[in-house]
Symmetry: C2
Subunit: 197 residues, 2 copies
Amino acid sequence: MDKLILVPLTMKHPLKQHIEEIITLTEKEFEFILSHFETIHKRKHQYLLQEGEIADKEFWIVKGCLKSYFIDEAGKEHILQFGMENWWVSDYESFVKQSRSKINIDCIEDCELLYITLENREKLTTEMHKMERFWAKKSKFGRIALQNRILSLLKNSSKERYELLLEQYPKLFQRVPKKLIAAYLGVSRETLSRLNS
Amino acid sequence: MDKLILVPLTMKHPLKQHIEEIITLTEKEFEFILSHFETIHKRKHQYLLQEGEIADKEFWIVKGCLKSYFIDEAGKEHILQFGMENWWVSDYESFVKQSRSKINIDCIEDCELLYITLENREKLTTEMHKMERFWAKKSKFGRIALQNRILSLLKNSSKERYELLLEQYPKLFQRVPKKLIAAYLGVSRETLSRLNS
DNA sequence: AGGATGTTAGGACAATTGTCACTATAAATT
DNA sequence: AATTTATAGTGACAATTGTCCTAACATCCT
């Protein structure tokens, strides 16, 4: 029972809008791109990827909120990335190297997702050089974001990291329990709780 | 007074060897690639890039050791990356976005470097699609390395991070003062010193 | 509606880490 | 050779953070 998104003819598909932030597309080109994707719905607490699996899909979040994370030997959860509308999510390492994933991805809210398989992604990049450029640019910006997160982990105190996150993604705090924010920042939830007082 | 590297005819240029880990090259192709690079020598304590500058070069380390780092408001040094033989170094963010760099890169030892300007890099990628693939792959692996560093910063204690680094780059400990290792791991040098006892 | 589960805050204490001070040695510079 | 400068270890103390605990709500599910 797939729900369908009803998109008025005058309204751009959100993925088209997203891709056009980087490259320009004709309507025909976008339809061709979209034909390589599938829609999937997932409910809260359902997995997109589990530790040990090999990531063969990359997801684009139409609606919803999710987390990619892992559980350490002590049972503690560490969040690598949150995902919300217009974000791409996968285990990048597993997807690129076709290795077993060290992380889990699951839904914090009911999610509507578009996904592209590795196979279709490769097809699409060879069929359409524009999309290779799109993904190359995305990859570059992804890398820059990771680099800045490392800088922040080294430089900023947990309070500063908390405030920076609040500033950058205020919406996150209304959608995600604070213990997950703590797991992202790398502090215990008690410590995070004390930062407010 | 440029020193020259004398490479016997039977011996591959180290950069050729490096690139051939990912793509195959004829001798002619490599010469073409190399013609886009320049050699430069830097002495210990000399900068390749300073905060506020715009990175217009990417360096490949033939010989030597360097660090990319920044100094925070409290005057503390934080090391983003060490570089040794066969590593690529630049401020990726500044290079890609042509924005002012937040970091410094300078030499821990006398260094022999090859560099390619942004201009030549773009020329080379359009002239030779193989090299676009090479750099795309390098970029992917670079991103994976950053992701794993974040995982390690979240998951591992400073002692564990120390031991993992020692395991992965034992040579680093003979070339780099321990206070720099501490600045890379994100702990004070006193704490690092106590990890041994 | 009601029980189960998940979330948040806070106290008390322990463990870790940072800071400051001092010392000793090694390396670089003149 | 002598003098700076850089590096490394250690003790004492403070600050931060983690762990364990309880309690109060909120949310979810049937």
